[in-house]
Symmetry: C2
């Protein structure tokens, strides 16, 4: 099985992308097609010393940047590394693709080149968040800013299947993100979604609140893409601010400095626990093919882990599992129109 | 000036409420009417030793609990400490009221007893969040789960006036919470709100993202009450989880333990900085009177600070400032119908 990677997408592309692919290849023999400027990529590979036989390069002479309008960019830049990586999957040369470029453009490339799983109205970006107890899947985190109740039901089904098949969670609990626990709470969207989730083929836990997300109260948290995006970025921002405040606090006095030196290994292991990179990117669920988007600031570790998640998604039949589950429930919750 | 306080509302009522009122009275001579079970409150006061002449008690023999439906509870429990505290303001015996009880019930009591400022469609709960640079006002954080663009414009005006008059921020910057910085980003609500905010009598900074909230990029962040509530609780939950993880990490080894002991004073001062109690509760903006709701877990410090914020709101003419500002802009953004 080959995995295609957009070697030009991300804040640290192509260096860290190439390195991540190289590490995955060296570690497990994974075959990877790196798509991007051949000269540039060969140069990066040469700097890594030993080669890895599973790595190949497909040349692409365009790059989609972060500030381009996603759909327009995908339509115009047909020779971009991102679009070509998606096409390698479409044409059967690769089984999955990974990008650390623009989330919007990655979703657009996936939609336009691979399409949706039949029956899926709206593919979602599923964030994998570190919590006190492990990880929680939060979806959608940005693809769909205005949602209808049936979209959230599909997110619940897809998130649940990802948690089960890829993260190995038995009977994952699914929570509906809301402003209170009672079933009557919420805005129009969540009030209408609640009874649909009670009927859906998932282990519906009920409403959860913001404070439950990072506690890990449930395995999957469902919300519209506006709320999910705000939550994801609020969490990132707050974690950054708290860590920087702790750093400042520890530099305040000589004693604190000495203490900080002693606690450093413990804090580093904590840092590792809450590091998004460990969990390897956000799957685009509902796409008719395996696609994973990584954080723009991904370094080689995140890229390597995303490649592994992509491989597991293929090996564990994620796409057909979602497709089968939808076919079994399509009449129940009325997805047949695909909207 | 007298401030009424619902002495029976909150997880630590009446003990911590009475103590907070007593501290405010002792510290600044503030006159406070504590509303609640007389015997109970007298008992708490006696345990504090020295009395304070500015404290009085108004007896109330009912209490509204956290799990009651707000409007129903306010309508039925006319002799509750919360409703009677609001009525003391309505009838001119007090200039403001404070409660650490249910936010929904406090808003309902304020709405039903004091009403809205003429022209205000939807009063909002304004969260005051600690950030890297100071504080940020986030509104609405829960009263209005489904909002229209003109509601968000009113939130912006009210939040801006609060930041200026009570927090002393000159020309406060107002951001619209969104999924991206560009003016075209967002869901239907934010896309329609953006041009209205450009016309509104506030210093509109533009869109801000989740990560800007705790960074303190702007002074006031505007969003609907669903998103605001989720953000507020996500922030609280994540801060708790991170602090508990840090604690665990520091107990992992003898060296880390020794280090932790040395860094404790620095961490405590950080804890104080990010402690909601220091900022004294969330004002209910748009109510025709000063009302402040405190976190349910408020201890005496939070209560005391909320009393001070209430006093400052009265002294600085917050209500008439909001009213004047609306009268000047009512035609511009079409609030005249009050909806």
């Amino acid at each position: 099985m080959k995995i295609a990677i957009d070697a030009m997408g991300g804040d640290y592309a192509p260096r860290e992308i190439v390195r991540g692919a190289w590490e995955a290849c060296r570690e497990t023999g994974q075959q990877i097609i790196m798509v991007g400027d051949r000269k540039n990529l060969e140069n990066e590979l040469n700097q890594l010393g030993k080669t890895c036989a599973g790595l190949e390069i497909v040349h692409a002479d365009e790059v989609i940047t972060m500030d381009e309008a996603p759909v327009v960019a995908v339509r115009r830049k047909k020779n971009s590394s991102l679009v070509m990586a998606a096409e390698l999957v479409r044409d059967g040369y690769a089984s999955a693709f990974v990008s650390a470029g623009s989330t919007g453009a990655t979703m657009a490339a996936a939609l336009l080149r691979l399409g949706r799983i039949p029956g899926i109205a709206r593919p979602a970006v599923a964030g994998v968040l570190p919590t006190e107890r492990g990880v929680t899947i939060l979806l959608d985190v940005g693809a769909n800013v205005d949602c209808k109740p049936r979209h959230l039901v599909q997110f619940a089904i897809m998130g649940s299947l990802y948690a089960h098949r890829i993260l190995g969670i038995e009977n994952p609990r699914v929570g509906l993100l809301n402003v209170g626990e009672e079933s009557t709470k919420g805005n129009e969207l969540t009030q209408e979604t609640y009874p649909l989730l009670q009927e859906a083929p998932v282990h519906f836990y009920g409403n959860v609140e913001g404070r439950d997300i990072f506690k890990g109260t449930v395995d999957v948290v469902v919300c519209d893409g506006f709320v999910g995006n705000v939550v994801l970025k609020t969490g990132e921002g707050l974690a950054d601010v708290l860590m920087s405040m702790i750093g400042q606090a520890m530099r305040q006095s000589i004693l604190a400095k000495a203490g900080a030196a002693l606690t450093l290994p413990a804090l580093k292991s904590l840092g590792k626990k809450i590091n998004y990179s460990e969990y390897g990117g956000a799957p685009l669920l509902g796409i008719n093919g395996v696609a994973i988007v990584c954080h723009g600031s991904s370094k080689s570790l995140a890229i390597k882990n995303a490649i592994y998640r992509a491989r597991e998604s293929v090996e564990n039949g994620l796409i057909s599992a979602i497709s089968d589950s939808l076919n079994n429930t399509v009449h129940k919750v009325g997805f047949a129109d695909g909207n």
